[in-house]
Symmetry: C2
Subunit: 348 residues, 2 copies
């Protein structure tokens, strides 16, 4: 990794002292960024991350790291940020009214990787932590977006995440997997963004596991059946998020190693560029992290680092029947029980 081009983040003003909770999560998020970048450089074999450190005028800053034109990754970004300010934006206050009238602290790590080969899936990860007056919470998740359909890849990804979740609570995976299916959904296309993974928000150890805006979805219904789990402390959620972060490389690396050698041509590349358009549509129209960043005058280049390096739109495209492209739409962009898939399964 090359050296920082800007000075380190300055400390917050003295009237907003960093609590030890904040310092611990901030360190976790920075360690996660370091570990992921190192693992990805090893996997890529060629590309190196370049880092920009930056400060946010309203308070805080971050380290943005980008890998480009690598052996595997056409472009990838891994960001750490730590910001504070006088008030959370309305989109969050609507979900956490107790935070109204209080300053906030937020830290997180986010990542999007756009491989060059259409056979290697795009992947996204984001873990984050908030404090605001009387409330704090963890949020985040990880999801996989393949261009070509391989059930064993989706199975491996979900199995790895399920294991990380199960080590902390038996109902985490069932609720957070459903939440992910519902969150990474393009309503205007009636498609999922990919094969999902896990997603959660507003986890403070109180209340139900699902705490999203949609009360009618499967995640909400399942979470109601589970009821309100007991004994979920700050420490237990901190440990859970830490393990989620650590599970990324084991979940993704084997998929890259398996698919990277496959040769491809214009057809596959064109399909990948077209499908990348859905990634743009999701991030700009729906994504909570993107909207939070733009609403809080975040660093635009870091927020939009998630957008792919090259994208195609095509009016009226539909895949030809009985092709891998059609199978992606028909099977992989719908919720599936990937963790329990087995080689002899017939998916519909």
């Amino acid at each position: 990794m090359t050296a920082s081009t800007k000075p380190q983040i300055t400390a917050p003003p003295s009237d907003f002292p960093l609590k030890s909770s904040q310092g611990r999560v901030s360190k976790l998020m920075q360690d996660l960024q370091d570990e992921i970048c190192q693992g990805l450089e090893d996997l890529d074999g060629l590309g190196k991350f370049k880092e920009d450190s930056w400060e946010r005028p309203g308070g805080g800053g971050g380290r943005s790291r980008v890998i480009r034109d690598g052996g595997v990754f056409e472009q990838g970004g891994v960001n750490f940020s730590e910001v504070w300010g006088e008030t959370l934006p309305p989109s969050i206050l609507g979900q956490r009214p107790e935070a109204k009238g209080h300053g906030f602290y937020a830290t997180g790590t986010s990542m999007v990787l756009h491989p060059r080969s259409p056979y290697v899936p795009t992947v996204h990860l984001n873990y984050r932590y908030f404090e605001a007056g009387p409330v704090w919470w963890f949020g985040g998740g990880i999801d996989l977006t393949p261009y070509y359909p391989f059930a064993e890849d989706a199975n491996h990804f979900h199995q790895t995440l399920k294991q990380a979740c199960d080590n902390h609570h038996p109902e985490y995976y069932p609720v957070f997997k459903r939440w992910c299916d519902e969150y990474f959904y393009l309503k205007h296309r009636q498609e999922m963004r990919g094969v999902g993974g896990i997603f959660f928000d507003y986890q403070d150890g109180q209340g139900a596991l699902y705490r999203g805006p949609e009360n009618q979805g499967e995640a909400a219904i399942y979470s109601q059946q589970v009821g309100i789990p007991e004994g979920r402390s700050w420490e237990s959620l901190f440990a859970f998020v830490q393990d989620c972060g650590k599970s990324f490389l084991p979940a993704y690396r084997p998929i890259v190693e398996r698919r990277q050698p496959t040769k491809y041509g214009d057809r596959e590349r064109n399909f990948q560029l077209y499908r990348r358009g859905r990634y743009v549509e999701f991030n700009l129209v729906y994504d909570r992290g993107t909207i939070f960043g733009l609403q809080t005058n975040g660093r635009t280049e870091s927020i939009l680092m998630s957008l792919p390096p090259l994208v195609r739109w095509e009016y009226g495209y539909t895949p030809e029947p009985n092709t891998p492209e059609a199978q992606l739409y028909e099977v992989f962009l719908k919720p599936q029980d990937w963790a329990n898939w087995q080689p002899n399964h017939q998916l519909v």
Copy 2:
């Protein structure tokens, strides 16, 4: 033009009779689509529009026309639509509370052209008309997005629009030009989308000329100075919108004819693809028409026809000093008095 692939739009249900006002604007919008498509085919010399007619399940439908891989246009879309339903979406009801509890009728024509040559600007046009219970209004506009900076092009475009406006009201151009500068603005980039044009909304002949959400901007301040104009009838606004539509070809055609012969290489093409990313960002994050379409379950393929066929994002790009690319940012993406520009003007 090739024949329709689907049947014509069905009539609205008998409990929502088309008023003659609706029929007249609908015909105007269809005639405008026809006239524009014919003019663009002549200008392109090679490409032909293909049409899809479609119906909207909630009521209404449209004709989407696309030109692709033409002599000038890499992709372009010209849509007509006419829709009705039980209620307007919240984003509009916030601006027009009188429409609450009423059914609505909306018709319009919209167009986005993405030329292949980086020297030929992208252009967007949209005119629309709404009725809902006791209220009706016209809205729309046109704006130009060059990739390479030519002051004489911006001047010609604005001069033509100003003439069309001045024929109807001396204050239309001054207010609607400022409104356009404010509307086609990417807050997260602190850039205008291009060199602007004219934009207006909620024009019902009552109240001030500027009726947007921003009360602090130059359009609002100028409009307050103008006061409330008298004698603006439905007929006068209908005639104004008609003339705005008719001014598109004279405003744009000479620019295409002047720039199309210029040779370009990878540098110019790469810059164009990069700047097209801003078009995507604007349309998905800010554009009222796109958001209205997606919120009212419009036809996604027609709404997102505005997105460019090929787009590039690049982390941390800034133009080199003293290049045409830098001049675009420094001069052309800021509000300028283009209608009064003269060849000896030094723009800053």
